[in-house]
Structures are given as C-alpha cells and as structure tokens.
Amino acid sequence: MNSPTKLRDPTAESSPVRRARLAPPSSLDGKTVALMDIGKSRGAEFIDRLEGHFKKAGVATRRYAKPTNTKVAPTALMQQIAAENQLAVIALSD
C-alpha cells in the first residue's frame, strides 16, 4: 500500500493524539464475558480456570475459539462475540 505516513488533524485538537483505551467497567453485574481461546497450546487450561472464577463470582460467560491460531479470527466470529457479550478475555499462552 502506498500509504502516506502523516495526516493533519481536522479537529480542534482537544483530545490526545493517542486514542484513549476504553475504561474498564466499574462492575461485572449483569454482564456476559466472552472467553476466547485463540488456539495456542494450553490456552484452554487458562480459559477453564478463568471460567471457574467467573462462575464462582456469578458472572455469565460464553466460550469461543478461533479455527486456527495462525490467522486472525473470522469477522463473523468477532461480530458474534460483540453481539453476545459486553466484555472479552483472550487467552494468549504457550
């Protein structure tokens, strides 16, 4: 891609150049957490442990897995996760 590397800000420049991360939720009450296994080895063990902790805390979870760890998740899967959950944990492990 023949990409320019520099643009000029069209705004009033009242916000930082680096975009702020989304603030973490103040509570998990009533929220559903997606547990995403990206397919790396032992990722499922980590997800299992997290799932247990969430269950004890009374937080609903849903499990998802990428078809392969070598490629980005399919768009449909990411849309499904976004539609069904408010939060997501992605297991990265080796």
């Binding site: 990409s3 320019p4 590397t5 520099k6 643009l7 000029r8 705004t11 009033a12 150049v17 975009r19």
Partner: protein, 484 residues
C-alpha cells in the same frame, strides 16, 4: 546540507528534454562541460543532454525544488559552495557573462525564452513543499503506520460522517489552501457546540476530507460564515431532535464557475461541487465543533441531507429574480443562502395549466410541512421545476406575484386546525378557532422560492424548515455574499 554532487566552484544548469530551448542550448552545455566544472540537473531524461559528464537525473525534482527553479534552462554560477548568479532562458550575453566564452553558442539565436520548470507545475509544487520544504501548517501531525490504510485511520479516529474521506495530507491541504487568498491562520469563527476556533487551515483540511477541489474554497468559506451567523442558530439546529440540518443554496457566478448543478437531479447525487461543499460544512461541525450524532446531535431520525445538502439555483432566465437578490444581495454577486432543511418532499401536479390552479395546488402540498394542522412550525423552501415555472411565466407571474398569491393561498380557517378538529388532536390552540391562520411567516421568509431541476417533469420539491424558525428575531434563513 550542501549538495555534494553540485560543484562548489562552477556551473549548474537545470534543464529538461521537453523544453525546446534546452534542446537548442545542448551544444552550449557540451561546450561548458569541456571548460568545466559543470553539473546539469535533468528533470525528465537521464540521457539529456548528451556529451556532458555530470548529468544528475532529478526525476523526484528535489534538486529543482531546493534550487528554487521556476523555468528552464536556468544557469547558476556557484562560488565557495554558494550561488552567486543565475540567468533564466537562453540569452547569449547573459550566459557569456556568467560562464565565459564557452557559452557563446555560435549559430544560435541571441535570445530564446525558456519553459516552465516541472517543479512548479500545478499540484507538483505543493507536493514538493510537503516532501522537502516547510508546509507551514499549524495543525498537529497524526502519524499513520506504513502498513495502515489512511482511510481506515480516519474512520478509527472518528473523523468521518460514515462515508470514506480523502486523507488530509500536507500536499492536499496546501493545494486546497491555494484556492483562497485568505491566510491559513485566519480564524473564520467559533464552531458549535464546543465553540472551537476554526482557522482557514482547518477549513481546508476538512474540505480535503470532504472531497472538495481547491476552487471550491471561497464557497466553502462563505457557507461556513453564513452558518456561523448568530441568526442561523447552528448550535440549536445541531442539537435538535427534529430532522433538520443545514441546506445550502448557492447563487451567482461562483456556482457556475465551479460547475455546480442546478439542473437535472439538482437535489440528488452526481455533482462533485454540490456533494462536497455541503459535506465540508458537516465535517467542520463534526470535527472542529465536536457535533457528533448521538452526542450533542439528538435527532430522532435525522435526514439523508445531513451528509450533504447543497445545490445551485437555475439563473438561466433573466426574467427570474434569483433567491439571493430577493434576499438583498446585489445582482451578479455570488451568495450563499442557508436554510434549516428537513429533507425533500416531492410535489406532483401534472394537471394544473394556469398559475391560479398551480398556486392553489402548491399550497396544498405546502400545508403538509410539519403537520397539515400546524402553522408557523417552521418555514419552507419551494424548489420550482422548469415545467412548473413555465406555467407561472406563461401566465405573466414573476417571483413577487407567485409569493403574494402563494401567501394568500396558504391561509386557512383556524376552526379546521385547532386541537381535535378533523378528529386529530394535533393542531393549534383553541384561541385560533375564529381566526384565519397563515401557514408560514410573511414572504419572502415564509417560503423561499428557488428555481432548479431538469427540463422534463411537472414535479417540484418542498423542503420543510425547522420549528426553531418560529421566533423570527432569533432564528431565520441567512443569505450572505461570497467573498472571492
């Protein structure tokens, strides 16, 4: 940093093969090379001129830019690494004064003008400033990764209206600024809702993103100034739950000069100036002012015109008084009218043949603005198509007559309009029951009549206004002359 490939003490000639004068003096360049030292900067051909040892191919035009070359050939003499003299074009006397007898050029004419340098061709110069010079822009830089798509970067940063924007690079911004004589740091006004100062440079950046051409800049600036007139109440229009957004109507030579559409599909898609000028205003409000849909913009439904809503009036009939003239701008001047428009409502009448029939019919259509039982709940724009206009013209009615007759036709007995009348709760308070009520405010503000559209079709368009227009002293359509 000094250019080590140029002689510290000697001659530099900037030339291009495409220039007949450069070709003419090729033997002179060969002669000067023999006398040396000489470097020829060739803009378009690494093999030109032949017979010269040091030819520096300048396809990127960096040397030409740094040497500030405006025409070729340019002969420059350097001493101790500094330029001491230059001459442009071919003049035997001047060349011999700078370079000595080797520049005599026997057999050549005494004088022949040169050609423009490739480095100052339209668009190229701005690109070279962006690449090698100081663009002088004050807006902060936003870095985009080499592998990132700049269009997607604009989306991610929230700079777009939902459609792709043209990434605002220095090169494009400089070109856009070339469309106006106004200084980049001039503040045009404070943009609501955040009342952020908006410079000409910020206007240019957003105009680039909207897809404008540089020659649209005076119109874009005129539109913005009109929008910032306190009487237009841009802040209120922005945060309303109503449908309305800014509708831009352009009159005068500026509209024709930039090829705006006032004919077939004038309110639709397909014309760059129509599409991008209206969009530039919306992007400025969004980006500079912070007017975001769903945040301060609380429209229940909005309307598609909030992407862009801009067209020109058809002024081809000298008998017709243009909208801008009716609203106080001198004939022949370019002007912008801004109205709080809610969207296009099609009006069909294929049966009326006399002005009297048609004006009654139009009034029936106009009664529907807002709600058929509401009055003074916003004004309207009536876009009169050529075939409907012809009925008036053939009947001898001019703008003023149409306005007067329409105003009379838009009166109704209040008893039909009060709460509960016709089985509908919406309507006017009971005090109007014994009155004759006007649908709109007095002319010319009540209905802004403008001519536009394709030659075929007994259709006109009604564009309802905004209830905020009820208090005329506080809020109304605004017309302003466009400065060159």
């Amino acid at each position: 940093m000094p250019d080590t490939l140029l002689p510290r003490d000697g001659l530099v000639i900037v030339a291009k093969r495409d220039c007949p004068t450069c070709v003419l003096v090729e033997p002179v360049m060969q002669s000067l090379d023999r006398a040396g030292p000489l470097a020829v900067v060739s803009q378009d051909d690494p093999t030109f001129p032949s017979g010269v040892r040091s030819v520096l191919y300048d396809d990127a035009l960096e040397r030409s830019f740094r040497l500030n070359i405006e025409a070729v050939p340019t002969l420059i003499r350097f001493k101790d690494g500094r330029e001491v003299e230059r001459t442009v074009g071919w003049q035997r006397q001047e060349w011999m004064r700078l370079a000595g007898d080797a520049a005599e050029g026997k057999g050549l004419p005494d004088w022949q003008p040169g050609c423009g340098s490739k480095s100052v061709e339209p668009g190229v110069h701005e690109a070279l400033i962006a690449r090698y010079g100081d663009p002088g822009l004050k807006s902060r830089e936003i870095a985009v990764g080499n592998w990132d798509d700049p269009m997607e970067a604009c989306f991610e940063r929230g700079w777009t209206d939902g459609l792709p924007v043209v990434p605002p690079t220095d090169e494009r911004i400089l070109r856009m600024l070339g469309g106006t004589e106004r200084k980049p740091d001039e503040v045009v006004g404070l943009i609501p809702p955040n009342l952020a100062p908006c410079t000409v440079e910020k206007v240019a950046i957003n105009a680039v993103m909207a897809g404008c051409k540089p020659e649209y800049m005076p119109v874009v600036l005129g539109v913005l100034e009109a929008a910032l007139d306190p009487l237009f109440v841009l802040h209120g229009l922005l945060c309303t739950t109503h449908f309305s957004g800014p509708l831009v109507i352009i009159n005068g030579p500026a509209a024709r000069a930039i090829g705006m559409n006032s004919g077939v599909n004038a309110l639709g898609q397909g014309n760059r100036a129509n599409a991008t000028i209206g969009r530039a205003l919306q992007l400025i409000v969004r980006n500079v002012g912070g007017g975001m849909p769903g945040a301060i913009d609380r429209a229940t439904l909005g309307n598609p015109g909030k992407y862009t809503f801009c067209f020109a009036e058809d002024e081809s009939d000298p008998d017709w008084e243009p909208l801008s003239v009716r609203r106080g701008v001198a004939p022949g001047k370019s002007a912008v009218t801004l109205f709080h428009g809610e969207g296009v409502h099609g009006f069909i009448d294929q049966k009326s043949r006399t002005p009297e029939e048609l004006v009654r019919s139009l009034a029936m259509g106009l009664f529907g603005v807002g709600h058929p039982k509401l009055c003074d709940a916003g004004n309207a724009v009536l876009v009169l198509s050529p075939e409907h206009y012809k009925i008036f013209k053939d009947g001898g009615w001019n703008r003023r007559r149409i306005e007067d007759e329409l105003f009379q036709a838009l009166k109704r007995p209040g008893r039909d309009l009060v709460w509960g009348a016709q089985g509908v709760p919406e309507g006017l308070p009971p005090k109007y029951a014994d009155q004759v009520v006007d649908k709109f405010q007095p002319m010319p503000d009540g209905v802004l009549i403008v001519r536009a559209g394709g030659e075929a079709g007994l259709f006109s368009a009604i564009i309802g206004g905004w209830p905020g227009q009820r208090v005329r002293e506080e809020c109304q359509a605004v017309t302003r002359e466009i400065r060159p």
